[in-house]
């Protein structure tokens, strides 16, 4: 399966060519940077990481190495520390112990390679900005202090909105967007970051079917262009269909690896404890074989 998907990826990259996948203005840049990064086979190394909130551990001694150019699902029951793992990698919560490297570098040197889609509920959607403003924020990290976004940044923001099918909503105040549309705006903002490695916290939570489809499209396109996506995901049934690689987490790491060897009934049982009905369905989905792509 993993070879299969890589081939698939290459084909797609060939097809993608100059249009669609590559944003205006930075095409050259990006090609160069993805070439050097393409040599790396691992994008994130999490080594012996423990995270605690108010002395209560949330992640315990987690050791994972995430492969590059894959769609990776982080799966586990509520309170398993999925979001915390993402936040720990992004430096949003302090590590009680352990070490994390991104493309072999410490976080500080890898910031510009990272894109982030936080949970939708974490922001105030009544904030006085429109969809375009939010997406433009994806460019801020590259601008540095005081400098304002320029024409190129605006074009990239617009292109990112178009990619998630939201070009018509650019000037819509964000509180007037549906939940799915808000999620797409967040995704567009991450695309505008033009990152190599994306972290998404429940990108499919509470979205409508059309948005779910649009997001999956974007994820596959990202993979085809050599990007890595690490997403917290709740719907066990769609894990094998949407993702190549899975991290099963329940405070401790239960298992991590390619879907077909790791997303097994036994591992899921270990992750979720006794809640079997749900798991049986998911396991059934796995048994049905390799997911159809595209």
């Amino acid at each position: 399966m993993s070879t299969q998907s890589r081939e698939h990826g290459t084909t797609r990259m060939g097809e993608g060519g100059g249009d669609g996948a590559v944003m205006p203005g930075v095409a050259g840049d990006r090609a160069a940077s993805s070439n050097t990064l393409a040599l790396e086979s691992t994008c994130v190394e999490v080594h012996d990481v423990t995270v605690a909130y108010h002395r209560k551990p949330v992640l315990w001694d987690v050791d994972i190495s995430l492969p590059a150019r894959r769609l990776i699902a982080v799966v586990g029951p509520n309170g398993a520390g999925k979001s915390t793992l993402l936040k720990a990698i992004l430096g949003l919560v302090p590590l009680a112990s352990g070490e994390i490297t991104i493309f072999g570098k410490p976080l500080k040197q890898a910031r510009s390679l990272i894109g982030y889609v936080p949970q939708r509920e974490t922001v105030d959607w009544d904030f006085p900005v429109d969809a375009f403003d939010v997406v433009l924020m994806g460019r801020y990290g590259r601008l540095g202090w005081v400098r304002r976004p320029g024409k190129a940044d605006r074009e990239i923001a617009m292109a990112s909105l178009a990619k998630v099918g939201m070009a018509d909503y650019a000037t819509r105040q964000i509180s007037h967007l549906s939940g799915g549309q808000q999620q797409r705006v967040f995704l567009a903002r991450a695309l505008a970051q033009d990152a190599q490695l994306y972290f998404m916290d429940e990108p499919f939570a509470g979205v409508d079917a059309a948005t779910e489809k649009a997001i999956v499209e974007v994820l596959r396109e990202l993979r085809s262009s050599g990007r890595t996506v690490v997403a917290v995901h709740h719907d066990l049934q769609t894990v094998p269909e949407y993702f190549d690689h899975v991290v099963l987490l329940n405070m401790r790491l239960v298992a991590a690896g390619p879907i077909e060897s790791t997303f097994t009934k036994k591992n899921l049982q270990q992750t979720y404890g006794g809640r079997l009905t749900l798991l049986d369905e998911a396991a059934e989905a796995v048994r049905r074989g390799t997911p159809a792509e595209g």
């Binding site: 904030f127 900005v129 304002r148």
Partner: protein
């Protein structure tokens, strides 16, 4: 009094000119910084800082032993920052939440301040401190040197906010995302709080510790009614704040003080706050889209539209079995239907006639051609809507809390086509809707 006000506002007197300019710039700066403080939900920390400034001023008086404006400001700033730090510490280190921590800081520091100020005023030399002016503000007691300092600080604050506009924007909207991009969120938060502290402290002589927070919050809240763009909101808040500072100060200097009591004129703080509150009230009532009036108008027109659509749908359903939409009907035929509000059936029909949807014929009413088209549209939408609720709503409930008649604009084309196909299948396609290309497309797509 009018002449006096005109003389003031036309800046004929040099000292007044400086004081007014200071108050205006202060209003602008506080309002601009206040926008971000409000959006970052830190406005009340400004209140704690302001109240904590009073003991700071008193301590500064003990140290310097005289009314020294700059020393007062430094004392106020130090203790104010201490109060802000106290709030953060209590929030982080204990189970007490931020609102309670702020209340603690306000009460505790202000209490100490009042005690200290009484001690100073009981001392024969204490009168010179003019401490009462800092409680409710007294621009009249400012000398032009004070006002110049205030103006200079306000300009620096405005420049800093302007430079850090993008950084504050992303901080206030999505702190975690900002951090993930490498922005020092903690540092930016501290920077924003520092600007709030500085504004608050220099505003004290004009507005006073009790009401200073209103100059941070009210203009921002008023501006929010007029726009949904941060840039516009900041500019508008600045204008409101500036005008509040200017007009409030001018009024306090010109309104004759009551004969008894307030022998030394009106305090400035309440007047500045009242002017700001007036801007807020006007915004609350009159702002387009978000104001109360606009809301009432919108609700009324929505109610009328719903009533009109109900009428059209009722007429359509009545005529549907006969297959002739241009048939004549009477009000009696509609009688059994419950019509919601807005002037009853007769009123609604009158309105429909005025709108050209219904014509009064010799034997009753009939739908005009445009009325027929409208009825078909309403019924079609209504039925699509029903089908949608039955088949799709469990997935996309958040897509559909809009006006049903705009369903076309909110659903993806393929969903709409599928819905149409379902209507055709169940034989419920409204009359007069040509078996549309959409429907066939929909069946094909399935």
């Amino acid at each position: 009094m009018q002449e006096q006000l005109v003389r003031l506002l036309t800046l004929q007197d040099a000292n007044t000119r400086t004081v007014l300019l200071g108050a205006t710039l202060l209003g602008v700066a506080s309002a601009v910084v206040g926008c971000f403080a409000v959006l970052r939900r830190r406005a009340l920390v400004g209140d704690a800082v302001a109240h904590a400034a009073l003991p700071g001023i008193c301590i500064a008086f003990f140290v310097v032993g005289d009314r020294n404006f700059a020393a007062f400001m430094i004392g106020a700033l130090v203790v104010g920052v201490l109060a802000a730090g106290f709030v953060s510490f209590v929030k982080a280190a204990t189970r007490i939440k931020e609102d309670a921590a702020i209340a603690l800081a306000i009460g505790g520091f202000f209490g100490v301040g009042i005690v200290l100020s009484r001690i100073i005023q009981n001392d024969p030399s204490g009168n010179r401190a003019g401490l009462d002016g800092f409680i409710f503000g007294k621009a009249a007691s400012m000398v032009s040197g004070d006002a110049q300092l205030i103006a200079a600080v306000a300009i620096v604050v405005l420049m800093a906010t302007g430079l850090l506009y993008k950084e504050f924007k992303i901080l206030c909207f999505d702190r975690d995302f900002a951090t993930s991009q490498g922005w020092p969120a903690m540092g930016l938060d501290l920077g924003l709080m520092a600007l709030v502290c500085v504004c608050t402290v220099v505003g004290l002589p004009a507005v006073g510790v009790v009401l200073m927070v209103s100059l941070l919050v009210i203009p921002a809240a008023a501006a929010r009614f007029w726009t949904h763009r941060l840039g516009t909101m900041v500019v508008l808040a600045g204008i409101f704040g500036g005008l509040s500072g200017m007009l409030g100060t001018a009024l306090s200097a010109t309104i004759p003080a009551p004969a008894s009591g307030l022998s030394r004129g009106w305090p400035t703080g309440p007047l500045i706050t009242l002017v700001a509150a007036a801007f807020f009230l006007i915004s609350l009532v009159a702002a387009p889209r978000r104001g109360i009036v606009a809301d009432v108008v919108r609700r009324a027109s929505l109610r009328r539209r719903v009533a009109r659509q109900n009428l059209l749908r009722r007429v359509y359903e009545m005529l549907e079995p006969g297959g002739d939409l241009s048939a004549t009907w009477s009000v009696g035929d509609l009688g059994r239907v419950r019509m919601s509000g807005v002037g009853g059936v007769h009123g609604q029909i009158r309105r429909a006639v005025r709108a050209g949807l219904v014509e009064a014929g010799p034997e009753g009413f009939l739908l005009s051609p445009s009325g027929q088209a409208a009825a078909v549209r309403v019924v079609r939408t209504h039925r699509l809507w029903e089908v949608f609720l039955i088949t799709h709503a469990h997935i996309a409930a958040d897509h559909v809390d809009r006006d049903a008649d705009q369903i076309e604009h909110f659903l993806p084309a393929e969903t709409l086509a599928a819905l149409e196909a379902k209507l055709v299948e169940s034989g419920r396609t409204p009359l007069g809707v040509p078996s549309s290309p959409h429907a066939t497309l929909g069946i094909g797509a399935n």
